[in-house]
């Protein structure tokens, strides 16, 4: 990925830096404008740290009006803009560039309104995903999408990437849980899309905006659906002696009409890494682990689990362990949700995010194994089994340039494999910089041109997050 090109910096913009800084300084309070090199350093990259670029400046507005003023100024001055939430993107969604101004919404982190009767909350874009649940959980409610980075990631970033999580099998992803947005267009106009009611009139701009990776405008507020929490939730660990048995069990559970709230898969390597980190009691002798979570009253959970365990037994399960306490539940999920972090402690890794038809699971696991072996690397597989969203973590040594290149090539091969079997490049992380040049594997020219023509309605001059999503060759403007 280190080979992925950025657009050549526009030196005519970089040369105008003093006047651009002066222009920005007139629009926002002094503390909201960052221009000193040492203070810009934290904004050089997001969680895809292989890419680092020093931006022209970073602006951290506190209001929609400030965002609007800065966007208007940048568009009039022809300066590229890179929107940023909490900077947790794994695909370089907020990697800056030398001729761009970063607009970060992190300071806009207030929860503006909670409406239990209508089951909605209105929040600013910089509020963290988990803070929304935090604000309503004492009253028994939650915000459903739960990306692993939910402690840190912002709802604005979730909206940009259409983030998912472990529980979207039942509750859907970001786009299924947002009712309204306040959006600042590139020219500084502020528009309301949707509201606190269901569905929007006209074309579905909510659907278009969510997952548009900061290329159509900057979201400053969102109205989200909040849901009443189930009375209880209980994860169960199922250890299998063979990966394909776990895959078959997943298909059989769904085939029996049961939709557990989550079905998470880990292979032997991932089990070892996560168990070492979280001490969750994962079965170390298993070749594959499923974490299946059920919800409801005690009786409802028991009833569902009887059905699920009976199916798992038919598919050769060797370990079944139900969580017996809230602490145990927390440990089980801590292990899963820290899979990336824990892996990072033992090796450098590239995290893939393709989705496949779940019926292809056994074949794809075998092929991933072959690919990784071919490159002489190791892989830890973690994924959302119910929906086929894979996260193979390809392990490598960042200080070994040859191995790093192999890991990148291997990752790209895995994504090509996902598309080949009928899946896609990214299930929840987004395209960003990382998968930009693979878009032609999934889409043909007509597909991509249509997307770019829609994009051009919002940003004909490619000023908004321009290095991302679409291959640099063949771009369409207005």
């Amino acid at each position: 990925m280190s080979a992925i090109a950025f657009p050549a910096p526009d030196f005519s913009i970089i040369r105008r830096r003093p006047e651009i800084l002066a222009g920005l300084a007139a629009l926002v309070p002094a503390e909201a404008l960052i221009s000193a090199e040492d203070e810009l350093r934290p904004y050089e990259s997001d969680a895809l740290t292989a890419f680092r670029k020093m931006p022209l400046a970073v602006v951290l507005p506190s209001t929609t009006e400030e965002v609007a003023a800065v966007l208007k100024f940048c568009s009039q001055a022809g300066v590229p803009v890179v929107p940023r939430g909490a900077g947790t993107s794994l695909v370089g969604g907020s990697t800056p560039q030398e001729d761009a101004v970063v607009i970060g919404v992190a300071k806009m982190s207030r929860i503006l309104d909670i409406d239990y009767a209508n089951r909605t909350a209105r929040v600013q874009a910089g509020v963290t995903n988990l803070a929304i649940t935090g604000a309503v959980q004492a009253d028994g409610f939650f915000y459903a999408p739960d990306p692993s980075s939910q402690l840190a990631c912002s709802i604005g970033g979730n909206i940009a990437m259409n983030s998912g999580g472990a529980h979207c099998l039942k509750y859907g992803v970001t786009t299924n849980n947002i009712l309204g947005l306040k959006l600042v267009l590139l020219n500084g106009d502020v528009v309301e899309i949707g509201g606190d009611h269901l569905d929007m009139p006209g074309f579905d701009m909510l659907g278009l905006l969510i997952g548009s990776e900061g290329q159509l405008g900057i979201v400053t507020e969102a109205t989200v659906r909040i849901l009443r929490s189930a009375e209880g939730a209980r994860p169960v660990l199922f250890g299998f002696p063979k990966p394909e048995l776990a895959g078959e069990a997943v298909a059989a559970i769904i085939g029996a009409g049961i939709i557990p709230v989550a079905m998470e898969y880990m292979d032997k390597m991932a089990i070892a890494i996560c168990e070492d980190f979280a001490k969750a009691g994962y079965p170390m002798d298993a070749e594959a682990l499923l974490i299946i979570e059920v919800e409801g009253s005690e009786q409802e959970m028991d009833d569902q689990l009887v059905r699920i365990i009976e199916i798992a037994k038919r598919h050769g399960v060797t370990t079944v362990r139900e969580s017996k306490s809230a602490m145990e539940t927390a440990a089980i999920w801590k292990g899963r949700k820290s899979a990336f972090g824990a892996t990072g402690k033992i090796a450098d890794y590239i995290c893939m995010d393709g989705t496949i038809p779940t019926g292809q699971l056994p074949y794809v696991l075998t092929r991933i194994d072959e690919l990784v072996t071919h490159y002489g690397l190791r892989v830890a597989n973690v994924f959302h089994a119910g929906d086929g969203n894979l996260h193979p973590l390809v392990l490598y040594d960042i200080n070994d340039p040859v191995e790093r290149q192999k890991a990148e090539d291997c990752g790209l091969d895995i994504l090509r494999l996902c598309v080949e079997v009928g899946g896609c490049l990214t299930g929840e992380h987004g395209v960003g910089v990382e998968k930009r040049d693979l878009m032609t594997v999934q889409f043909n020219k007509a597909d991509l041109d249509q997307q770019m023509r829609v994009r051009a309605v919002f940003d004909p001059a490619w000023l908004l997050n321009p290095a991302k999503v679409f291959p640099l060759e063949g771009r369409i403007a207005a």
């Binding site: 409406d115 009767a117 209508n118 089951r119 909605t120 028994g140 990437m161 259409n162 998912g164 528009v191 509201g195 009611h197 269901l198 569905d199 929007m200 009139p201 006209g202 074309f203 579905d204 701009m205 909510l206 659907g207 278009l208 969510i210 997952g211 548009s212 189930a230 009375e231 769904i254 009409g257 049961i258 409801g296 009253s297 009786q299 409802e300 009833d303 989705t355 496949i356 038809p357 779940t358 019926g359 086929g388 896609c424 299930g427 929840e428 992380h429 987004g430 395209v431 998968k435 878009m439 999934q442 889409f443 597909d447 991509l448 249509q450 997307q451 023509r453 829609v454 994009r455 309605v457």
Partner: protein, 395 residues
């Protein structure tokens, strides 16, 4: 007036490319069961999707089905039912409302984003839709999304075209995630609540952990003399017994709960889904209003005070109001638009005489999004040949 019936996506693409050259506007027709919906438009040509039909993929264990745009909803539902599955969003059938007799197609369902009572729990048509293929106004066959449930690759054009009424393209294939059919389905009924109390009861139930999959209120005089507030529970039998008991306790203050099952239950929800209660008299104009549930009854009371003869009911926990008004004048558009502006939300004039639909906004006016909407139309259909003006003038 010419009728074209292409038999494949490739044929449809060639046909549209040819039509685009001449700039002839076209209507896209599935089962023609909703032909009276939208602004009246005159087109020289009609493209029927009838021959672009058939289920292309059904993987029950993956909870996914794909079908060509002209496939009938009945065929899809039958194939799913054979595997004990269903479309999650319970698509509305407009035949009762429009007095039409064709077979609704899945392309028509997506084109209108038609969702039924389960929308509050399982999402709208657009939420179940995971992939589309379509022919745009340039005669290009394009795709968005695919056949997997989680997919954030590129712009989500599948959602954008859902509910665009054919103005952006001709849908040739649509792919959905599906759900298992519940083992058991039943209705809890509370009688004699006024609108505000009813919505409060529905909100309490929807804000409970007991997961109603539908929540509606039928005021007194709507096919029955007493008001009926109804909640649907679906799932495994053991679980339903428990939830009935819990909801009885939770809603004790609202009145006695009666449990309905079988046709007594499913017939009621079919009536809600298809707006059967307001179908007659057939000359009445029908509005569909989406708003926040707690503001719905106040909004409706305001409209009712200004429009003698108005009748209505609530779906989606109170957030969806179906309103029948006398068809004269502007079919109460001025009153309805003003009330919706205050309450927040949007209103669509679903059924009205042609001359009324020709003279007022049928869909919610776009306001600040008009320019972007026009731009998106141009990006798909630069010659404006698909259903020009059906949603909005110039779109």
């Amino acid at each position: 007036m010419s009728l074209f019936t292409p038999t494949s996506e490739a044929e449809a693409a060639q046909l549209v490319a040819d039509l685009a050259l001449t700039g002839k506007p076209v209507t896209i027709q599935g089962g023609a069961t909703r032909a009276g919906f939208g602004r009246p438009i005159q087109t020289e040509a009609t493209i029927s999707t009838k021959a672009i039909s058939g289920i292309t993929l059904h993987e029950p264990a993956e909870l996914v089905i794909a079908a060509r745009g002209g496939t009938t909803v009945a065929e899809i539902e039958a194939v799913l039912a054979a595997k004990n599955q269903m479309l999650p969003f319970e698509p509305m059938d407009h035949r009762a409302l429009f007095g039409t007799s064709g077979e609704p197609t899945i392309g028509g369902v997506v084109a209108g984003n038609h969702s039924g009572p389960r929308r509050i729990q399982a999402g709208a048509c657009r939420d179940s839709l995971i992939g589309v293929r379509l022919v745009n106004g340039r005669g290009e066959a394009i795709k968005s999304g695919g056949r997997v449930m989680k997919n954030v690759t590129g712009l989500d054009l599948a959602k954008l075209v859902t509910g665009s009424w054919g103005t952006l393209g001709l849908l040739t294939e649509v792919t959905f995630k599906v759900l298992p059919r519940p083992e058991r389905s039943l209705t809890l009924l509370i009688k004699n609540l006024d609108d505000a109390r009813a919505v409060a009861a529905l909100s309490a139930a929807l804000g409970s952990p007991f997961e109603p999959t539908a929540a509606a209120h039928l005021p007194a005089g709507l096919s029955r003399p007493v008001a009926r507030t109804i909640l649907r529970l679906e799932g495994f039998s053991v679980s339903l017994e428990y939830r009935i008991a819990q909801l009885r306790a939770l809603l004790a203050g609202y009145g006695e709960i009666i449990v309905l099952e079988g046709e007594d239950s499913s017939g009621l929800w079919r009536g809600v889904r298809d707006v059967e209660f307001l179908a007659a008299p057939e000359e009445a104009a029908i509005w569909r209003i989406s708003t926040a549930p707690t503001r719905a009854s106040g909004m409706v009371a305001g409209i009712a005070a200004a429009v003698p003869g108005a009748r209505w009911f609530y779906d989606w926990g109170g957030g969806l109001v179906w309103l029948a008004v006398p068809p004269g004048g502007d079919a109460a558009a001025t009153t309805v638009r003003a009330a919706v502006a205050t309450a927040g939300g949007h209103a669509t004039l679903v059924r009205a005489p042609r001359e009324v639909r020709a003279s007022i906004d049928v869909f919610q006016p776009l306001g600040a999004l008009a320019a972007v909407t026009g731009g998106i139309k141009t990006s798909f259909d630069p010659g404006r040949i698909f259903e020009p003006g059906r949603m909005y003038a110039g779109v």
